[in-house]
């Protein structure tokens, strides 16, 4: 037996052991650090739901929800910030804000300008019959019609622009309500498009401010905060304090996003700009009610522990007659009124609740299932939607010959569920991808959202194409803005078992990649061959799969630190390819395909490729709780291969042996085995110990654990004695 002893590998091993080949997303973890302002990612529908507009990668896009028209309307210059577009009520155009992002030297504020863009008619005249597939064409390099600058204002901080916290349309479609900053305070103003004039529409001003306008446009609500609690006010659009009513002096939740601003506070403490929008009351659809959260103990510091809150219902025509409903903790999110204003839905932690406003009766809409987001009711009111997490399983690891640790763990993938308005007849309508910024259309049963594939085993390049789900037509349309996103649409099909569609998408992306000269295309092309090869494999077309996998191998780049080791470069390239193929198969949910492929590798190779394949089998068996197969694979196949491999470096082999023996002999594994299996594996480890003197003690100790687990005191005693006598 030859073992390749390499000091270079021993230096490399700690580094490689630290390299985890997986993107782990901690789901639902609480942090004691304050929340930061987040960029807004909504994909708003036009008033008639026939188009969408969105901001992505520093550009504004517009597209039909049917047909193939997809256009870039505005591209930011270097350093510019853009807000989310806002469709004008009843019109075919939208607003968006642009800022250079720099502070004005005299005012210390961030200037921003609001533009209006009238969409061209062909956005609306194009029809579905021209669409060739579920994926719209990449945006045309199109010179848009001129945008019209409406007004300029100043923000306290640049985050307000990307977070889209500065302006809203008035329902009349002629006025724009917005925040302006003067002398360190924000105020609410209205710009009239007809008269091109601006006026103050609220007597409330403060450093941190947020507002919302009632559905009928008659009232404005303002959240105001300096440093302590948040106050809520509402009144008509004027600046007379006598017309306004304060309905809350300690709005909840207590914890809201904040950003430090360069203002010198009198007490010398940092000055914060708070995002008060989570604390704003929600207007009922008929504008007759406001619903908000009241923090019961306003004096206590925000913490991660649940705090009691009250949900306050305020009748607009009689604000002194507020009603309250108590809750034991403040994890209330995603408040939505049902059409008709008789019911208020929200998340209490992960429970989806509905309150009848007239009686206060609460109903749990999703039972014991843990809801991550409540998207609300459709405008017609006959359906509601929410997100569940798709994956609940324990993470498992495997250690590869190259020192990489591969982990298979749950990630933040969602199941988009649509149910009847009362929560009955829930049905999954979109699955297996991370969904962000989901919202209903303005009239129809359409949902827009960002869909991201988050791998559970291997790293993939980022990409999250926009999508519109039409529930009535049971169809989905994708809106990729570049080739990488175009390729990622294929992941949706592969994840959902539609290999043919996936192959078509990946193939089309490959053709487009070959036509470009972008530096990043070779990497994307390699990955496209990987994904398409996996898709071919799932259809049984091994020849096409192998062609793609060969291409992957030829275009795999060995990392410099790996190339400096004593491993053969071709072997490293092959191992990396095998790793990516197996990881992708598992991550895409084709576990039987992955285990079949791993077995083929193990059968056709006799050395390190075989060992790596057996490591992947151990990962799968461990993750699926197949303890017998897991133990059999390690004791009878992996360890013997490891101990007889001529190519395995000594240090690496020692580390793997220690690693796998530790997990084999864990009581949770031993307890799941039949006694006969324990005895057999104990004997196998003892036999291995005899032929591997360098690892005798470790193997015999492992053997003794199996004997003990089987209750064979005599065998355990003999094994331990033989270790002691040798010592």
């Amino acid at each position: 037996m030859m073992i390749n002893r390499s000091s270079a590998v021993s230096r490399l091993l700690p580094t490689l052991l630290a390299g985890v080949l997986m993107l782990t997303v901690a789901v639902g973890c609480l942090s004691s650090t304050p929340a930061r302002w987040e960029p807004e990612r909504k994909i708003p529908f036009s008033p008639d739901d026939r188009a969408i507009a969105y901001t992505h990668h520093d550009a504004v896009y517009v597209a039909r929800t049917q047909g193939d028209k997809h256009r870039k309307v505005f591209a930011a210059e270097q350093g510019q910030l853009i807000s989310t577009p806002h469709w004008a009520p009843g019109q075919r155009g939208f607003l968006f804000a642009v800022s250079a992002g720099a502070r004005d030297q005299s005012s210390s504020n961030i200037g921003y300008e609001v533009y209006f863009w009238a969409a061209p008619e062909d956005i609306w005249t194009d029809d579905e019959s021209s669409a060739k597939s579920d994926t719209v064409e990449l945006p045309e390099r199109w010179t848009p019609g001129p945008t019209k600058r409406l007004f300029r204002a100043e923000a306290m901080n640049a985050v307000q622009i990307s977070a889209d916290a500065l302006f809203e349309w008035h329902p009349d479609g002629q006025q724009v309500i917005y925040l302006d900053t003067t002398a360190g305070h924000q105020s609410v103003r209205a710009f009239d498009r007809q008269y091109r004039a601006s006026r103050i529409v609220s007597p409330i001003s403060n450093r941190s401010l947020a507002f919302s306008i009632s559905t009928d446009g008659k009232y404005l609500q303002v959240a105001s905060r300096d440093s302590e609690a948040t106050e809520l006010w509402f009144g008509p659009l004027d600046d007379l304090i006598s017309d306004w009513k304060r309905i809350e002096d300690r709005a909840g939740p207590k914890r809201v996003p904040r950003e430090e601003i360069p203002i010198v506070s009198p007490d010398g403490e940092p000055a914060w700009l708070y995002d008060l929008r989570p604390q704003l009351a929600k207007w009922s659809p008929d504008s007759l009610w406001l619903a908000h959260m009241r923090s019961v103990d306003a004096e206590a510091e925000p913490s991660d522990d649940p705090e009691p809150v009250d949900v306050m219902l305020t009748p607009v025509d009689a604000p002194d007659e507020q009603r309250s409903i108590s809750f034991p903790d403040d994890r209330l999110n995603d408040l939505h009124w049902a059409p008709g204003s008789a019911r208020l839905g929200f998340l209490d932690g992960s429970d989806l609740l509905v309150i009848e406003t007239s009686t206060g009766v609460q109903t749990d809409l999703a039972g014991a299932l843990e809801v991550e987001r409540f998207i609300g009711w459709s405008k017609p009111g006959d359906q509601l939607a929410y997100l569940l997490s798709t994956e609940y399983f324990d993470s498992t690891n495997t250690l590869l010959p190259t020192g990489h640790v591969v982990r298979w763990a749950p990630t933040d993938r969602h199941n988009l569920v649509v149910a009847k308005h009362d929560g009955t007849l829930p049905k999954s309508r979109f699955n297996m991808m991370n969904i962000e910024a989901a919202q209903w259309g303005n009239q129809s049963a359409k949902l827009s959202f960002w869909a991201t594939y988050i791998p559970s085993v291997s790293l993939l390049p980022p990409g999250d194409p926009a999508a519109v789900l039409d529930l009535d037509k049971d169809s989905i349309r994708w809106y990729p803005t570049d080739l990488a996103e175009y390729a990622h649409v294929g992941h949706y099909y592969l994840l959902n078992g539609e290999a043919g569609q996936a192959i078509a998408q990946y193939s089309d992306a490959l053709r487009r990649v070959s036509d470009t000269t972008d530096d990043e295309m070779p990497s994307l092309a390699r990955n496209l061959h990987l994904w398409r090869g996996v898709a071919y494999r799932t259809t049984g077309d091994r020849m096409s799969a192998d062609l793609d996998f060969t291409n992957v191998r030829e275009n795999t780049i060995v990392e410099p630190e790996e190339a400096a080791s004593d491993w053969d470069a071709d072997l490293l390239r092959t191992l990396a390819t095998d790793r990516d193929i197996l990881s992708t198969m598992i991550s895409m949910g084709y576990v039987p395909i992955a285990t079949g492929y791993a077995r083929e590798l193990a059968d056709t190779d006799s050395d390190v490729r075989r060992i790596q394949a057996l490591c992947y089998l151990s990962l799968v068996y461990d993750s699926l709780g197949q303890h017998n197969a897991y133990t059999e694979n390690i004791v009878e196949a992996l360890l013997p291969a490891l101990l007889t491999s001529p190519a395995m470096p000594t240090e690496g082999a020692n580390e793997m042996l220690r690693w796998y023996l530790e997990r084999l002999t864990d009581h949770k594994n031993i307890a799941q085995l039949e006694d006969a299996a324990k005895l057999r594996h104990g004997a196998s480890l003892a036999t291995l110990a005899q032929s591997n003197p360098d690892h005798r003690d470790g193997l015999l100790r492992g053997s003794s654990v199996f004997h003990r687990g089987a209750g064979d005191i005599a065998a355990e005693t003999n094994t331990l004695r033989s270790i002691a006598s040798q010592d």
């Binding site: 109903t363 749990d364 999703a366 039972g367 014991a368 299932l369 569940l388 994956e391 399983f393 199941n415 569920v417 009955t424 007849l425 829930p426 049905k427 999954s428 959902n496 078992g497 949910g589 576990v591 039987p592 699926l624 709780g625 197949q626 303890h627 307890a671 799941q672 039949e674």
Partner: protein
């Protein structure tokens, strides 16, 4: 078959009849034999530690094996749920998990498994079974009468002509009664 006391009564009456003068004898016999005729507790296995031990010992290994088999079964159903794209198969796996958690007395897990099953798009027959069982668990085990009513009503609304719906209608009456009694 006549009880021992009835036979005894017959003997005493016969003696009295045959020997009218032996009323006193009959009376004494009645008293003595009545005491003897009172049913005595036979020595049976339920209260005998040695017998209990023998019985338990006989069943012990099978029980340990069953516990291991239960863990393997749960693993297999969870693996099916993770591996399949077939909603019906996933739903059936959740139903089986619900049976297992029900058997082990974990009512909350039973509820969760049944609700997960209902989200999978199962065949109508499995849907009916799941809704009926869910209503029962909510009502009888978790005392969540409002949710139980919702589950039974959903079954009635969606599968009105089924036998499960007929049963749900009957149960619904008792849920209301239990709910009102609970409030009282």
């Amino acid at each position: 078959m006549a009880s021992e006391q009835e036979c005894l009564h017959a003997v005493i009456m016969s003696v009295t009849y045959l020997h009218p003068g032996s009323v006193v004898l009959a009376a004494v016999l009645s008293i003595v034999l009545a005491g003897c005729a009172t049913p005595t507790t036979k020595p049976d296995g339920t209260f005998d530690p040695e017998a209990l031990w023998r019985s338990a010992n006989h069943r012990h290994n099978a029980a340990v094996a069953s516990i291991h088999e239960l863990a393997r079964l749960e693993s297999d159903y969870k693996a099916i749920i993770r591996l399949t794209r077939d909603g019906e198969l996933r739903g059936r796996a959740y139903l089986r998990l619900a049976e297992l958690s029900n058997a082990s007395g974990d009512d909350k897990a039973t509820r969760k498994n049944l609700e997960q099953a209902l989200h999978c798009g199962m065949a109508p027959a499995d849907q009916r079974v799941a809704l009926l069982e869910l209503g029962f668990v909510l009502d009888q085990r978790l005392n969540d009468y409002a949710a139980a009513r919702v589950a039974y009503q959903q079954l009635i609304n969606e599968h009105p002509d089924s036998k499960e719906a007929a049963l749900a209608s009957l149960r619904l009456q008792y849920v209301t009664e239990r709910s009102e009694a609970h409030d009282d």
